[in-house]
């Protein structure tokens, strides 16, 4: 075991996969010499050369579209979109092309690409460097959507994504790159795409979260524990496919569900979790499945008081949990 930052775990996964499989290539803006604007691809250009670590022109639709083409002709591209906020020009390539290639060709073509991108707020990134984009993409059949929380998961899930036969959108919370650390096994491993993980067992309510919100939920659970409220924290980690079994089993134990996400509340991914619990776990519920999510303004406003107002934090989660337990 080694203690690694979130960022290093992702870097290591890329390095190992590129060493293991010569068909793996990395492409994106500034991923080469600079090593990415966050430093995730640091050193890959020097280790694997410019044919496999490609500094692309500034064009996101091009990055994803080229990756689609590479993938049908023998390469395993890992595309980096510099910020999730800038993925939108590639929406058509992801939705209409990558996600539908297999279905529309009756399994004749697959699209084994990974699209990595940093998302999320709390870094003074304002409207265009803070967005959560998972709801747009988790809506799309044919695409897998992964949001790791622990460094070990980041590494294992990314390695699994590179080996996956289908397109995977891999979302990395940018605030976690340098602030979250954790133990990562030294030996070769992958983490399967699909299953959720229970990060903290509890009996009084279940908190469902992913990415940075797992971190905040665990802190909230800690505080709640001191008050005698035992919260179970479930790290959803794969949004599509969604592990409804683990989610429903947790609610069966705790009878209360709080779903936490950073994205705008309306139409956000947490609504899918809430609906699943309402439909399939109704008889186990002592309170309505409840969402705690970002306010419905267009992304995170810049100024510090605005950002603090927007972001879901441990105290806000603890308050929502208390209210739910008291229901």
């Amino acid at each position: 075991m080694a203690d690694k930052r979130f960022l290093d775990a992702i870097h290591d996964a890329l390095h190992e996969e590129m060493s293991r499989d010569p068909s793996v290539v990395v492409l994106g803006e500034d991923v080469g010499k600079k090593g990415g604007v966050f430093g995730v691809t640091e050193g890959l250009y020097q280790a694997f050369g410019e044919a496999r670590v490609i500094d692309t022109p500034l064009a996101e639709s091009c990055i994803v579209g080229v990756a689609v083409g590479m993938s049908v002709n023998g390469l395993r591209p890992v595309a980096e979109i510099q910020f999730a906020d800038f993925i939108h020009p590639a929406f058509d390539q992801i939705l209409s092309e990558a996600a539908r290639l297999r279905y529309r060709s009756k399994n004749d073509f697959g699209c084994p690409i990974v699209i990595r991108t940093p998302y999320g707020g709390g870094v003074h990134g304002a409207l265009y460097h803070s967005q959560s984009i998972e709801a747009f993409y988790a809506h799309v059949p044919g695409l897998k959507v992964v949001v790791p929380y622990t460094p070990a998961d980041a590494k294992g899930l990314l390695k699994a994504a590179v080996r996956d036969p289908d397109p995977v959108l891999f979302l990395e919370h940018k605030k976690m790159y340098r602030s979250v650390r954790g133990e990562v096994p030294d030996s070769e491993f992958t983490v399967p795409i699909g299953p959720a993980a229970i990060r903290r067992p509890g009996r009084d309510l279940s908190i469902f979260a992913y990415g940075l919100m797992v971190h905040e939920s665990l802190q909230a659970a800690e505080a709640l524990g001191k008050e005698g409220i035992e919260a179970e924290v479930v790290d959803v980690r794969t949004l599509r496919p969604l592990d409804t079994k683990t989610i429903l089993a947790s609610v069966e134990r705790t009878n209360r569900a709080l779903i936490v996400y950073e994205d705008n509340r309306f139409g956000g991914f947490g609504g899918e979790i809430a609906a699943t619990i309402a439909e399939e776990g109704f008889r186990n519920l002592d309170a309505p499945p409840t969402r705690l999510a970002g306010p419905d303004v267009p992304a995170v406003p810049f100024s510090h008081p605005f950002e603090e107002w927007f972001m879901i934090s441990a105290p806000k989660i603890a308050a929502a949990a208390r209210a739910l337990v008291a229901y």
Binding site: E29, P301, F302, P305
Partner: protein
Amino acid sequence: MSAKSAKETTARPSPGKGEAAARGPGDPGPAGMLEMFYYLCLARAVDERMWALQRSGKAAFVISGQGHEGAQVGAGYALDRELDWLVPFYRSVAAVLMKGMPPAELFLIQLGRDPDPSSGGRQMPGHYGHSRHKILSTSSPVATQVVHAAGIAYAAKVRGTGEVCLTALGEGATSEGDFHEALNFAGVHRLPVVFVVENNGYAISVPVSKQMAVPTVSSRAAGYGMPGVTVDGSHVLQVYEAARAAVARARRGEGPTLLEVTVPRLTAHSSDDQQEKYRPSEELAHLRERDPVRVFAAELRERGVLTPAKEQEIRARITREVDEGTEIAEAAPLPDPATATRYVYAEPPDAGR
């Protein structure tokens, strides 16, 4: 918009149309040159203050235009600053100053304060906009604004307003589909728009050689049925001459121009970037030779336009304006989170001011 900054704005020198006509086309005359020099130095001083605010921990982030001022002042001087539109990008410090935003407003934006006229503290620094000055609000995704500029020009044409629209972007942004789509539309409709590409050789770390296979951005103009010109942004008067021709052409109804201005990027991409990683030290060592402030000052001294007394007067004025602007911004309140849910949908136009 506070009354104070409005007053500052109107106090700014603005050449009357009659005066320009008396000098003959294309000759800014000594007063015009000194005005350009003033804006060049003002933009640099504002920019340096932004970095100082960031380094002292008062600002979270800076992205600005040191080295790009020559391109912006030369092009900006060719506009009718009352009538014409500016669709800027994050390096357009000199351009928005020329268009009438006083230094205090740029510092309010830099510090994310409530009276920030562009977004009330909602956007990151460098995202300019101001309807009264006909400066369109800016987002972060690059090249999106280029298409808006074509739309503004289309509206100007069908409404017969006589306006010209000038938009600016980096050479990296020309790789986006939006750039192609905008120039194509503008070419088809012969729109009164000038596309200014401020080519500083890099898109963050990516050199222009990895951005495009052609030696100049302007050579692409042929594909859109418009003239393409490349000029050296260290030479303000050359930029002005090229921009003047492009604006005049647009105003005559003859259509758009792609104007590429080569500029040095004198700083890192932003305060989050370490450029030593990807820029040769040899290049960094010689960067200042292309500094438009230096080049233009030398040129004006040689022409006898910039005397030591005049220069001192201009620089003293700028120091005063930048200091005052900083004080206004630092004293301004941060936004109240209770207002954070406002302006998602329409409200009366003056509700936010």
